[in-house]
Subunit: 387 residues, 2 copies
């Protein structure tokens, strides 16, 4: 186990009807906030009405900025910053999924940074603080509700980049599994793939002696595997969505990564995909993750055997570890496919003409990866394996 520091200060308010406490929670920080949301589904479901009523009841004024798209755009962040500056706003309330929360964090960071907020994402500048952010979560997926990270796409050049600071963790996140009842199945499935990826990107490590976090990760993956099909089969299954929603936060609250080297290659390789093709991040992960696994598993076969046996209950072939490892990867791919997700680029209508460009954007002349270092050629090979 490696040395580590862990702190996650986000307050989680979980369960039925909890969105009705948002006014009270918000009022602890500010009486004038930016209400940030996406394409307007929260208006159809009634969540918008419940949230705004709670804000009004608590005497919290709000200025609205909707329109966040999946793979949130830099231009809207600029708009949000201007809106906040013009209205003397000092708190961002995100009502939505990962994209809305990430956009809110971008605005929050930009409000406290003198230069261009995009410089933070390009690592040309460093944030020292941010406005506080609160969350009403609408989909279990990104884990952004208790993480300090934000992923944003700059339209010009289709560049997708991230930042991460502890002070960007939301002050509170309200998680009511009932809001999942109106999610389209495909979104639930994409969210599930994202959650699985967050766990696996911490799980696949060469760091030895990480039994507790291994077992906690396996516990969380098993819970996902058991509950996602149930939630898809019965979209008003509170119990199934409650497991998925809490697992989604747990997958990305940083506990599962403590004491171990992590490997976020698949996320980065996928980011280039959804940056260019604008497919759902979770769908991209369902395509990329199995391909990455097939490309790297020989570096640490035993870890992939453990994954196969403990997570997928594969009967171990003790004489042939590679066979067991590959069976685990196949089980993951089957799982994603059973959720209605694409597992090949062809399923998403993506051809190979931009592999080089995406790999170049992803890594340039450098490398990424913890379990196995990957250069540009490796990444092209992974895209090829994903065809």
């Amino acid at each position: 186990m490696n040395n580590f520091t862990f702190q996650n200060t986000t307050k989680i308010i979980f369960g039925k009807g909890t969105e009705n406490t948002v006014g009270e929670e918000t009022a602890k920080y500010s009486k004038k906030v930016l209400l940030h949301y996406g394409g307007g589904s929260i208006k159809k479901t009634g969540l918008y009405d419940r949230v705004t009523k709670s804000l009004k009841d608590a005497g919290v004024e709000y200025v609205e900025l909707g329109g966040v798209k999946p793979n949130p755009r830099l231009s809207l962040i600029y708009e949000g910053i201007e809106l906040c500056r013009n209205n003397g706003i000092d708190f961002i309330l995100a009502v939505g999924g990962g994209s809305v929360i990430d956009s809110a964090k971008g605005i929050a960071a930009g409000m406290c940074y003198e230069g261009d907020v995009w410089d933070l994402y390009l690592r040309k500048g460093t944030a020292a603080k941010a406005l506080p952010v609160g969350v009403v979560l609408t989909i279990p997926a990104a884990g952004s509700e208790s993480s300090g990270s934000s992923v944003v796409t700059k339209e010009e050049g289709q560049l997708k980049r991230d930042i991460g600071y502890d002070f960007l963790r939301p002050r509170f996140s309200i998680l009511n599994p009932e809001v999942c009842f109106t999610l389209p199945s495909y979104q639930t499935a994409c969210g599930a793939a994202d959650i699985m990826a967050h766990i696996m990107e911490r799980y696949f490590t060469n760091t030895p002696n990480v039994e507790l976090t291994d077992r906690l990760s396996e516990a969380t993956m098993t819970t996902m595997i058991n509950n996602v099909p149930a939630a898809l089969a019965a979209p008003n299954d509170y119990n199934a969505f409650a497991e998925i929603m809490w697992a989604g936060t747990f997958a990305h609250n940083d506990l599962l990564g403590t004491g171990r080297e992590q490997d976020w290659s698949s996320h980065k390789i996928e980011h280039e995909l959804s940056g260019i093709y604008d497919i759902a991040h979770g769908a991209g992960l369902a395509i990329i993750f199995p391909a990455w696994m097939k490309y790297v598993y020989k570096v640490n076969v035993n870890r992939f055997v453990q994954f196969a046996v403990r997570v997928w209950k594969v009967e171990q072939d003790f004489s042939d570890p590679e066979k067991t490892a590959l069976e685990g990867i196949a089980k993951l791919e089957d799982f994603f496919r059973s959720l209605g997700l694409p597992t090949r680029l062809a399923d998403a209508g993506i051809t190979e003409d931009r592999f080089e460009e995406m790999a170049e954007k992803c890594v340039g002349s450098g490398t990424i990866g913890g379990l196995k270092k990957l250069d540009k050629n490796d990444i092209v090979n992974i895209y090829r394996l994903a065809r």
Copy 2:
């Protein structure tokens, strides 16, 4: 799953040599602190020297108060409060295990309360705030390093009582598994029993649909079962102690209790035992927990079957759930015994003459318990089962 709120703000600084950062961490809060510790073992091991050097290097002045005993005493808390008041101290640094940390929290709460601090423990008053507390942990056991609770014994009448407030959670806790190398085996074993109890008191619930927290709990218990014997066999096994130390914090950071009714009867029943007889809390738990299980398991046999099968790998007898359940309880008892712990009151030289008195003190004419409500008679019966 029940609705819940979860927030744990403690910063964990984990790994080799981390005690050397204590000055830097402490200086963020105060330049004049109370250095609180136990019987002086930290002086023998050199930990005291490293901590005080780090404080001095960071320009932090300290006033010392050692002498905390296991089952920490109210009288020392009074002394600590007076010392802090006389010296203008506004931060308590606990270097020790659960008793030292709990004593530090008592002083911290007492410093911000106008009345007698003991009234807080008697629920005759409520604390609104406390001085900040920092921790350098010396034994994985109590979980007090990231909890908001404090358990203290008033010598007169041998009353053991607890308080719990979110603002009592330590601001930071420094966990270096190397400090465990000098622990006597019996203390390591007692700590392990305490950790197992913290998990089990959350695990044994009637709340349905708590799959994620069930599996996380089972993962943590399995890790303990695998690593405690290794640590006892080789007391300088860093990897084993690292697993135990992180599991000990995880067992009591409140994540495993989210969304479920808990049952802290065994802790309360044990508190009367160690309050009167002054045996180690963990040893008392190793005696009481199996007895409590034998007394209550019929209320929810399936849960005890799950415990037996998933945690202890008992081969399930599908035709006889009670048999499987009892086999799980027997395995737990065997495990405690294999660690050198007493599992019967007789092993600790305790006879039955004060059962009535302890049960009366524990519950009076009321009840305790979540899985099964227990009155005074039930508690006497549990003490009898523990003979």
